[in-house]
């Protein structure tokens, strides 16, 4: 051992300086790697900047042809006709009605499932139910569109014989089923985060499971529930393919779910399927529609974050 050390003594000096220089390159490469990793993280910010830039710049060109007042108040949407009208409310009405139907299904169902899984089900049921919900949430929306058009619509037509082949109702119902997993999983997480001691206190006072769930756990988890509903709303508003397949694509200013109508998203799909030249006003309408969509979801997101802060219960 000693022998080897003294034999190496001579080269020790070399090795020290060698190590110093290696430390230098090592520092440089560490910095370089950190910069690369940062660049990767910054891509997400660039994506947002890109989205805002594209939507705003194309919409800017659009709004040089069409006044914002007309855009918001006109009650016709015929951008590709000779007599062109650009009333976005026509598309917004389709979006609002279909989302409303979807939420009427998704919020009660999602909340019941969440309460059941978090407060009633034994761990075995919970562990096997979660993957099922996850699979449901993973089904491609185009397949849900097929489901709405070819399975749900015929069934609904037996109940309501006057229902047309395309309707906001059938698309909305299926959309609701699609959103259930998003709401149930987030709500369940929120309710499971409520400390056990609160439930125990309630049980000790003689409350039943249901009473504890509805009057202790749900109020304590209300900010999480609200956040999950908001996520459900943005999913519904942004959903495209179910509506493009099952709700028809003709613009129709209506509040009746039994009618076919276009939504903001299905209009974009319809235009993209056609062959509009880049830079034409028809091409720019889809960006104006997209900007409207983004602003709606953004408004809900901000509301959600505000709700979460406002009603957060800290334990």
């Amino acid at each position: 051992m000693n022998h080897a050390m003294s034999a190496n003594n001579f080269s020790d000096l070399h090795q020290v300086s060698d190590r110093l220089s290696r430390k230098f390159t090592r520092n440089v490469s560490e910095r370089l790697i950190e910069a690369l990793l940062f660049a990767a993280a910054a891509v997400s910010v660039l994506t947002t900047v890109g989205i805002v830039y594209v939507l705003v710049s194309e919409s800017y060109h659009f709004f040089q042809h069409v006044s914002i007042v007309d855009f918001l108040t006109d009650n016709q949407w015929t951008p590709l006709f000779d007599d062109a009208h650009y009333g976005i409310m026509v598309l917004v009405s389709g979006t609002v009605v279909s989302s409303g139907v979807a939420l009427l299904v998704a919020i009660p169902m999602g909340t019941v499932i969440a309460i059941y899984l978090s407060e009633f089900a034994n761990p075995k049921v919970r562990e096997s139910a979660k993957p099922i919900l996850e699979l449901l949430g993973g089904i491609p929306t185009i397949v849900f569109g097929y489901f709405a058009l070819l399975i749900v619509t015929p069934v609904l037509q037996k109940i309501f014989p006057e229902l047309p082949g395309f309707s906001l109702l059938s698309a909305g119902l299926v959309m609701g089923i699609m959103i259930v997993p998003y709401i149930s999983s987030l709500s369940e997480d929120a309710m499971r985060a409520v400390p056990m001691s609160m439930r125990e206190g309630s049980y000790a006072m003689g409350a039943t499971k249901l009473h504890t769930a509805l009057h202790v756990v749900v109020p304590a988890a209300v900010s999480g529930l609200a956040a999950s509903y908001i996520l459900g709303i943005s999913r519904a508003v942004g959903e495209t393919m179910i509506l493009a397949v099952a709700a028809g694509m003709q613009p129709n200013l209506t509040w009746n779910p039994m009618e076919p109508a276009a939504t903001i998203t299905s209009y974009i799909v319809q235009v993209a399927l056609g062959d509009l030249p880049h830079g034409s006003i028809g091409y720019q309408t889809i960006f104006a529609a997209g900007l409207t969509l983004l602003l709606i979801t953004l408004a809900f997101n901000i509301a959600g974050q505000w709700l979460r802060r406002r009603f957060r219960e800290a334990y």
Partner: protein
């Protein structure tokens, strides 16, 4: 207030218990509806599409005649687009996740990135299509190619990959990092030899879930202007007109499974519904098996790792 008699109290308890039971039944019914929808969907598509589910369906192109149509260009397109998506989203997402967990200081830049990722996850997928139409297709001139589609979907699933990477990294206890640093490893060496390998199963789960989502996405790809009728395959590397290269196929026009299904469901002729059902079944098998793989991986991982 008058004291309740024993009978009254018993009745009260019985009522409470009954409400519990009713609610429990309601919960089970709601779950059963979800399960029923999955079975109904898969069952209906299988039953309706059965007659078309043979080898010819996978080896022929779309055609004007329903009975001769197949999904060759669609499944090849889907796989190629997924390949580009994975190639772009995995390195970017994992690197961003590592940066945020292991490197980022707590300052406003980090805050912006984090808020941004949360918000991006809530942006409707069709908006990504518009982004890509403006940037990739026209500004960068990539056209309506496999590359444009792959990059669009990569941006779409980036938040999923980043979040799952972060969760996987966060589950690794601090002592692993301390041990590594204590023997003189740099930050990157710690990541390279300890953090990334231990986080791998978690990252993989997130990547599979992200890709399963991407393979079923229709709206953004329609938005960039993908064609619905493609009766040819992208060029095989090093074939075609010289100078033929390894990556010629990325610039090729394409179609994918969901677009093919959309095309068939939107035709008035019911003969195409059969094709849509068969193609939908194939897509469901692809997506469900990817999801099942991810769920199994997660389950396995939870069992194996004990810090």
């Amino acid at each position: 207030m008058q004291a309740l008699t024993t009978e009254q109290i018993r009745a009260l308890i019985a009522r409470g218990k009954m409400k519990d039971t009713i609610f429990q039944a309601l919960g089970i019914i709601c779950l059963a509806i979800g399960l029923l929808v999955i079975f109904l969907l898969v069952g209906d598509m299988l039953q309706r599409g059965m007659e078309r589910l043979n080898l010819d369906f996978f080896t022929s192109f779309a055609s004007r005649k329903a009975a001769q149509s197949g999904i060759l260009s669609a499944w090849v397109g889907s796989i190629l687009v997924m390949f580009v998506t994975a190639l772009a989203a995995v390195p970017l997402g994992v690197a961003a996740g590592i940066y945020l967990e292991e490197y980022a200081k707590r300052n406003w830049v980090t805050d912006i990135i984090e808020i941004n990722i949360t918000n991006l996850a809530a942006v409707p997928s069709i908006v990504y299509g518009l982004l890509s139409l403006g940037i990739f297709v026209y500004a960068l001139g990539l056209g309506q190619s496999i590359l444009s589609a792959g990059l669009t979907l990569a941006l779409l699933i980036l938040p999923i990959v980043i979040v799952s990477t972060r969760e996987a990294i966060r589950a690794i206890p601090a002592m692993i990092r301390e041990g590594s640093m204590a023997v003189g490893a740099t930050r990157w060496q710690t990541c390279r030899y300890h953090i990334i390998p231990y986080a791998m199963p978690g990252i993989l789960t997130g990547v599979i879930i992200g890709l399963a989502r991407a393979i079923g996405e229709t709206a953004p790809i329609i938005t960039i202007g993908a064609l619905t009728f493609i009766a040819f395959l992208p060029p095989v590397p090093f074939t075609g007109e010289p100078p033929a290269g390894l990556f010629d196929w990325v610039m090729s026009p394409f179609t994918v499974m969901p677009i093919q299904i959309f095309n068939w469901t939107s035709r008035p002729d019911p003969a195409f519904e059969v094709n849509a059902a068969a193609a939908g079944f194939v897509l469901m098998v692809m997506v469900l098996s990817m999801n099942a793989l991810a769920i199994w991986l997660r389950y396995k991982m939870r069992k194996n790792i004990k810090w």
